[in-house]
């Protein structure tokens, strides 16, 4: 499915099996965006959280 980057409006292809919380990256500006699916299945993108100092393993 397709969506638009919140920052630069570039087209972003979101895999059909993407789950809520998954991160996609804008191919144009590189912004990380979090996928959210609302109750009627519509995909919303919002800017992902910035990497925290305690992230990762």
């Amino acid at each position: 499915m397709e969506s638009k980057c919140n920052e630069c409006n570039a087209q972003i292809i979101i895999p059909n099996d993407a789950v809520s919380g998954e991160i996609v990256t804008c191919p144009d500006c590189g912004l990380n965006l979090e996928v959210t699916k609302n109750t009627d299945g519509k995909v919303i993108l919002k800017e992902a959280e910035k990497v925290g100092e305690d992230w990762g393993e």
Binding site: E53, G56, E57
Partner: protein, 264 residues
């Protein structure tokens, strides 16, 4: 999990609110929780709360606490007799610099909490030591007032990452540093190759896993000049790099282990 026909509920740490007293009236944690939060502190505190509700968490809050703090990990390894690099902890820049001089160069300065090789720096001479100790002492946060200083182990430009699930090493890979970096983290561009799982490596890794309480762990080892040493253990282990060089389905191993914990 979907392929195994298991009912699952995903909790997003950004949306939860854990209430105390916990009267269990409005929260459903199921039969078991597989905690995979990318934030160590969020995951740790969530695990503690869920455990207080009587639900088992993989990994336990205690294991997460030990593995998330490099000094606690070093303590656990030493207590269990697992070979680990010489490490010194100090609380002031002055004592850190004195310690480094007595250890001799090079040494490695690591943040107590953190991953992906962030803020890990090799100190090769006094000038670097002065600069980076001062830098760390200027970074906000109480944990940065603790200096975790480790000998720099002479090793090939790689280390070993073993994924342990319960009492089984399900994956063993070399993590190879990029040409211009000494750090091997996959997050920093390191690559992976299969690593033969010798009896010595397997025994040491399983002993290290047990030392911190066991579960689903990423155990990191180095081939030092005096033999294998374990330098880090990761609780919410990421395994993209390991999976690229493993024939085992690591995710499936983790899911099967979690399901079996319910049944036991």
């Amino acid at each position: 999990m979907q392929s195994k026909d298991i009912s699952t509920l995903k909790l997003d740490a950004k949306n939860v609110a854990f209430e105390l007293p916990n009267n269990n009236s409005n929260q459903n944690f199921g039969d078991i929780v597989l905690q995979r939060c990318i934030s160590h502190f969020r995951g740790l505190h969530a695990s503690a709360y869920i455990e207080s509700a009587g639900i088992q968490v993989i990994n336990s809050a205690k294991v997460a606490e030990i593995c998330g703090n490099k000094f606690y990990t070093s303590l656990a390894l030493c207590k269990s007799g697992v070979p680990t690099p010489k490490t010194v902890m100090t609380f002031t820049p002055e004592s850190a610099l004195t310690t480094i001089e007595s250890m001799g160069y090079p040494v490695v300065l690591k943040p107590l909490v953190g991953s992906w090789g962030r803020l890990v720096v090799a100190l090769r001479d006094q000038e670097e030591a002065n600069a980076f100790i001062e830098l760390q002492s200027q970074i906000e946060g109480a944990l940065n007032r603790i200096f975790y200083i480790q000998e720099m182990v002479k090793r090939p430009p790689r280390d070993i990452r073993c994924i342990v699930v319960g009492e089984k090493v399900v994956s063993s890979v070399y993590r190879i540093a990029k040409a211009d970096d000494w750090k091997t983290n996959v997050a920093r561009g390191g690559s992976t190759e299969p690593c033969p799982l010798s009896n010595e490596l397997e025994d040491m890794v399983l002993k290290a896993s047990k030392a911190v309480g066991g579960g689903v762990l990423g155990v990191d080892a180095m081939e030092g000049s005096d033999g294998l040493v374990i330098h880090e253990i990761n609780s919410t282990v990421e395994f993209r790099g390991a999976q690229n060089s493993s024939t085992t389905d690591i995710a499936e191993e983790i899911v099967d282990y979690t399901i079996n914990q319910i049944l036991e």
